[in-house]
């Protein structure tokens, strides 16, 4: 409501205004100096039916336009109640999918009656509002059953709304949080909603024999589902403590019944009206009602429940590496988990500087360092609380490490949280954070140098006699930056960012980043091995902690080995696809997105693709000329390129098999049972899809090989003439199509062209 002080009085200025305006020249404006025409374009035009949600068309009288003729207190048959319930469920899911409430749930006249004017108590939220409450006790199917269902549904939305709104999401892209000045009953505690539902359920129980049994059961199932769904959503982040899957499992078990019985219902289309938009506080033009069908709604609901169950598998903390695998795998599910699930995962990942509600971020960061770079023990063990002598190096180290934690814990946690965004935004976000990580790496380098003197780290002597140090913190930061490089490229493939003519270059660049990364991991390993050797001596001397340390070092080495295998797999596959695409491009059979007259050129495309990396100091930017030479494999004959493709693809297949054999998770040597079976299944499927893509690539390479051979045989006699074109047809499968085995691996489909099309 607009705040108006009592003393304001209106004065009629119609005549003055009209006269003054008439003196203006055509096109002349009198305006607020800060008000721009650009803004003016966004103004809603009153009395324009397309823009003005409050506009009443000719012939629409006031009452019809705003009130709708629908009588909310009217008697409804059980079939109609069923139909309304399912209609509401469709709207609810459409809202979950990202449509605004004004076009979905808020079109329901029943909900409108309950929610507006804002009820002061839950008892006040009933369908009789504004009418004489005469026959309140009768028509229980409407005033008890339907009302309980509606209220509980709104409360469900309230929980979803609250969760999403507190997390990072993109308005209108992922979700619309706009409530149009209404409330989703957030002011009421959840208990009375359960009471209402339970009362409704027992009423339906009592109706055995009085209603059509199938319809009665269908209504009963919906009430039960609603109760469990509400409980599941109320649980929200409490799931860390409760670990209860019960409610969502019950929901899932009811979905088949919902699907089967929906046909028993009778739709009541009159009880939904887009005209309610005329009463909502809304700054947008009127928009049509969104209609999704019941199967789609159920499919969405089913995934939501399943994701809600499976997300419990991320809760058991088993080190940062495993944590990342579970999160990435869960959130890479196709279709992507809904915005509610993604918001919930964000909260679970880090809330109040605590990971999964149990691990302090400092511990989390230290675990990560211990897993990967294992800097000299003293760095992670020094604790300011224990050493109070400022001159003690351990005190100094603790101070430096605290500074490190302060600076790095947030960006590190964000590398996990960013996975919860929608896929396009993940890539965009990583394009920004990669620059931050470049700076972080430099800061870490400074810290490393200071810490090195404090901890008296022994240098490692290189073959050429130079001394070198481990630089654990910056090594670790560099590792993360390289992961982000790879992610930007691979998500680029997934999101169909690159045109076909760019694929040779982009796959080359991916392999280039992989080999840089492999080199970096080798460096880390060298130092870990050296530490392990020193530790063996200490073990022989039976020093305290040496055995424990040995175990930790072995674990770290195993992780480095696992990472190496994975990156080799990516590298080899990228090399192979690069070579394959070079051949297709050379023989002019690679489709192109741009026409010959297009403004775009290889150089301009290079510039735009390298934009995220321009500011990065390490790895250095590949200059265009070098990039082009590498991308087209300049100077290599077709035979060499083919050989390269064939060799790399067989190496890739081996490396992916090894990756699969290693399993999704790092396990402690005692081989404890896997706590994330569902997510591991997804992970395996992903690797297997990649392996299928490898096989697809092998076949494509073979096909090209044969075609080139055939052409060579034909070409022989034609001396000096123009070589015949390669008789192949190439299509690039779209993301999501069946022939695209894996989003990150664009394997071209190569097939012999029809003989007739020879030119």
């Amino acid at each position: 409501m607009r705040v108006v002080s009592q003393s304001v009085v209106p004065r009629d200025i119609t005549d003055e205004f009209t006269t003054a305006a008439s003196k203006l020249k055509t096109g002349q404006l009198v305006k607020d100096e800060y008000f721009t025409l650009f803004e003016a374009v966004g103004a809603l035009e009153i009395m324009d039916s397309k823009m003005d949600s409050g506009y009443l068309g000719p012939g629409e009288n006031h009452a019809q336009a705003l009130e709708d003729d629908y009588d909310l207190t009217r008697e409804l048959g059980p079939e109609e109640v069923l139909g309304i319930m399912d209609g509401l469920l469709c709207h609810e899911m459409a809202w979950h999918m990202g449509h605004p409430l004004s076009q979905t749930l808020f079109t329901s006249l029943y909900l409108d009656k309950l929610l507006w004017p804002v009820p002061k108590s839950l008892d006040e939220a009933h369908f009789f509002r504004g009418h004489l409450a005469n026959n309140n006790e009768e028509l229980a199917i409407v005033h008890l059953v339907l009302r309980a269902y509606c209220l509980a549904l709104v409360k469900c939305c309230d929980f979803v709304h609250a969760r999403v709104a507190t997390e990072y999401y993109f308005e209108e892209e992922d979700f619309v949080t706009q409530l149009y000045n209404r409330s989703l009953l957030s002011q009421f505690e959840p208990e009375p909603f359960y009471d209402l539902l339970n009362r409704a359920i027992s009423w339906v129980d009592e109706q055995k024999g009085m209603l059509d049994e199938r319809v009665r059961e269908a209504i009963w199932t919906r009430l039960l589902f609603r109760r469990e769904f509400l409980q599941g959503l109320e649980q929200d982040v409490e799931v860390i403590q409760t670990r209860s899957k019960e409610h969502f499992l019950t929901c899932l078990s009811q979905l088949d019944n919902l699907a089967k019985s929906t046909s028993l219902g009778t739709e009541v289309p009159d009880s939904f009206s887009w005209k309610i938009q005329r009463k909502l506080a809304s700054t947008v033009p009127p928009r049509p009602m969104v209609k999704i069908n019941f199967e789609d709604a159920l499919a969405h609901l089913k995934r939501l429940c399943q994701d809600a169950i499976d997300l419990q598998e991320i809760i058991d903390y088993q080190g940062p590496y495993n944590f990342k695998v579970t999160i990435w795998t869960l959130l890479s599910r196709k279709p992507q988990p809904s915005v509610y699930i993604r918001s919930l995962v964000q909260t679970l990942i880090v809330n109040n500087m605590t990971i999964l509600g149990a691990v302090p971020v400092k511990q989390f960061l230290y675990d990560e360092l211990a897993e990967l770079v294992l800097p000299s023990r003293i760095l992670l063990e020094a604790n300011m609380d224990e050493i109070e002598v400022p001159s003690d190096p351990r005190f100094q180290i603790a101070k430096q490490m605290d500074a490190f934690v302060k600076r790095f814990s947030q960006p590190f946690a964000d590398t996990f949280r960013s996975a919860c965004l929608n896929r396009c935004r993940i890539r965009r976000t990583v394009c920004h954070t990669i620059v931050d990580w470049d700076n972080l790496q430099m800061e870490a380098e400074d810290l490393d140098e200071q810490l090195r003197t404090l901890s008296k780290e022994p240098p490692l002597m290189l073959a050429n006699g130079d001394a070198t140090y481990s630089y654990p913190l910056s090594s670790w930061a560099y590792h993360h930056k390289l992961i982000q490089f790879r992610l930007i490229l691979q998500l680029g493939f997934e999101l169909s960012i690159y045109s076909p003519e760019e694929l040779p270059g982009m796959y080359w660049y991916l392999s280039h980043i992989c080999s840089t990364h492999l080199g970096h991991i080798d460096r880390i390993r060298t130092f870990t091995v050296a530490t392990a050797k020193r530790n063996l001596a200490e073990m022989a001397a039976k020093k305290r902690d040496a055995l424990e340390r040995h175990t930790a070092l072995q674990k770290s080495l195993r992780l480095l080995e696992r990472l190496t295998t994975q990156i080799v797999a990516v590298d080899a596959f990228a090399i192979s696809l690069h070579a394959l695409y070079v051949l297709l491009a050379r023989h002019g059979i690679l489709p192109t997105a741009s026409s010959a007259q297009a403004y775009s050129s290889d150089r301009l495309r290079y510039e735009i693709r390298m934009k995220p990396f321009l500011q990065i100091t390490l790895p250095e930017l590949v200059p265009y000329d070098e990039y082009r030479r590498e991308a087209v494999l300049e100077g290599d004959s077709d035979e060499i390129v083919l050989e390269r493709a064939t060799k790399a693809i067989s190496e890739a297949r081996k490396a992916w098999e090894a990756t699969l054999a290693n399993g999704a998770f790092v396990q402690d040597s005692d081989g404890e049972e896997n706590l994330a079976p569902a997510i591991e299944e997804d992970w395996k499927r992903d690797v297997k899809d990649t392996m299928r893509a490898c096989i697809g690539a092998s076949i494509a390479i073979e096909t090209v090989k044969k075609a080139l051979k055939a052409r060579a045989n034909v070409a022989e006699p034609k001396e000096g003439g123009h070589p015949p074109s390669v008789n192949l047809r190439v299509t690039i499968p779209e993301t999501g199509s069946k022939a695209r085995w894996h989003d990150w691996w664009i394997v071209p489909q190569v097939s012999p062209a029809a003989v007739g099309s020879k030119t």
Partner: protein
């Protein structure tokens, strides 16, 4: 009124709160931002006011007990509030305007607490 004066007058209204009545009886109350020769008016932070529907009036008159509807039963006269909602930035085309009012604070209390 010559052109200069006209511009001056309209300029003096910029930033003030206007009540613009439309041909369909709705009233738009918002901050005056812009106008032109055709008397099109752009208002910012606008609220739409609509006369209560006949049924609301009838309910109020028959004494339906519904405090939330914002009506007060005071027989024989019935007082029913206009319904309002926020709609933001709007342009009211000149041909649909029936009346323009300026919200003023009487000089006795020259303070405008609404203005930032």
């Amino acid at each position: 009124m010559d052109e200069n004066k006209a511009v001056q007058y309209l300029d003096s209204l910029i930033g003030r709160t206007l009540r613009v009545h439309a041909t369909d009886t709705r009233i738009f109350v918002g901050t005056f931002k812009c106008t032109d020769a055709a008397r099109n008016i752009i208002l910012a932070s606008t609220y739409e006011y609509r006369f209560p529907s006949p049924s609301t009036v009838r309910d109020a008159a028959t004494g339906t007990n519904d405090s939330a509807a914002g009506s007060a039963v005071d027989a024989p006269n019935v007082k029913v509030n206009m319904t309002s909602r926020f709609i933001g930035l709007v342009v009211v085309p000149g041909q649909h305007i029936t009346k323009i009012e300026l919200e003023e604070t009487p000089p006795s209390r020259v303070r405008d607490p609404l203005k930032k």
